[in-house]
């Protein structure tokens, strides 16, 4: 018995130039916010951008983007609707605001299904918002999306970096491209994260300060791009991503 979906996935991703998985291993460090604002910023610069929220049991990018009442189109597959200039795919189209308790194998199956049937078309960037943990999502992206590059988000906390360190070591051991590390919600001026990152031979993208205006900007993308959070990320994107 052969699963016919797997060979189709690379075909579906064929016309995508770069895939960036915004990841960490640790939860609550700002992956979803970084992924959303990264995608929005690239779209604003004129790139064709897809955005895929793979945190199926606790999706949050739809809240950040202020999205509701949209559905993909069925056309030789599933065509993601365009939201704020992004081709946006999320499990919420199917689960709505219900809890979707999924075991790892079920998560994996759902991810494979969506990768196999989603018609992204031609994209400059596909941004993937990853769930926390070093588990099915990470392993499946590594296994199924060979061209994925990882952008790693951490906070300044030792608790976050304990996991992030393991996550990065895994990527390096597998020779997977690590685009860089972002230190988010910075409140003090320790350079612990920068040092640890550079010691591993990885680009330190910089710091995003803890932004008091962030919470009230959630759901309003124009504001998100214009507060400190959005501005800091925009600067990093300009400096660190090779956008030729």
């Amino acid at each position: 018995m052969v699963d016919p979906r797997i060979p189709l996935i690379s075909e579906r991703l064929r016309e995508i130039r770069r895939v960036i998985a915004v990841s960490s291993g640790k939860g609550g460090v700002g992956k979803s916010l970084v992924a959303s604002v990264l995608a929005l910023t690239l779209a604003k610069k004129g790139y064709k951008v897809g955005f895929f929220d793979t945190d199926f049991t606790s999706p949050s990018s739809h809240i950040i983007l202020g999205v509701s009442n949209i559905q993909p189109e069925e056309m030789n597959g599933i065509v993601p609707p365009t939201v704020h200039g992004l081709k946006y795919m999320s499990i919420i189209y199917y689960a709505g605001d219900r809890a979707s308790p999924l075991r790892g194998a079920e998560f994996s199956n759902a991810l494979i299904e969506l990768l196999a049937v989603t018609v992204w078309g031609e994209l400059d960037f596909l941004i993937i918002d990853m769930p926390p943990g070093i588990s099915d999502a990470t392993l499946d992206v590594l296994r199924l999306i060979k061209k994925a590059e990882f952008l790693v988000v951490t906070t300044s906390s030792r608790l976050a970096f304990e996991t992030v360190r393991k996550f990065i070591d895994l990527l390096l051991e597998l020779n997977v491209p690590v685009l860089g590390v972002i230190e988010n919600m910075k409140m003090t001026n320790s350079d612990f994260i920068r040092k640890e990152t550079e010691e591993k031979g990885i680009k330190f993208w910089g710091e995003i300060p803890f932004d008091k205006n962030l919470e009230e900007s959630i759901g309003d993308v124009e504001r998100l791009l214009n507060i400190e959070f959005g501005k800091a990320l925009e600067r990093m994107i300009g400096e660190k991503i090779d956008l030729n």
Partner: protein, 135 residues
């Protein structure tokens, strides 16, 4: 109709299997179609016939329906998908992502969403048969 995407997956994979096994001409492709996904079999068949790849021109597609059976991981109760009443929205969601069943269904005995799809989840290729390449 995302039935076309599922058909595309079958065609592409059957072609790859034919290639790998050195089949010049595929005579049959045996497909198992899980009930859970509620695939429209007429559209699916039509898509298969339209998408035919070079080596699959004369292939016959045999489609076997696979009953969807569920088993609770908490209390071991087993039931069938056809015994469950689901509204249109839920059916459509499960059609696209069968795992979404966990958001809409519960074990009829203990109420848990922690059940296993024992059979009848999605689309599978059982076998690809044909004439071996000569030479």
């Amino acid at each position: 109709m995302h039935e076309w995407a599922l058909a595309e997956a079958v065609i592409k994979t059957a072609s790859q299997i034919a290639e790998k096994e050195g089949l010049d001409n595929v005579s049959e492709v045996n497909i198992r179609l899980g009930e859970l996904q509620q695939v429209d079999i007429e559209i699916f068949k039509f898509a298969l016939s339209q998408l035919k790849a070079p080596k699959l021109e004369k292939a016959q597609f045999n489609i076997r329906r696979d009953e969807a059976k569920l088993r609770c991981r908490v209390c071991s109760y087993e039931w069938t998908f056809s015994s469950v009443e689901l509204d249109e929205e839920a059916r459509e969601a499960v059609h696209f992502v069968p795992e979404i069943a966990h958001a809409f269904m519960k074990c009829p005995q203990c109420g848990s969403p922690d059940f296993e799809v024992v059979s009848g989840r999605g689309v599978w290729i059982e076998s690809v048969k044909g004439v071996k390449r000569h030479g």
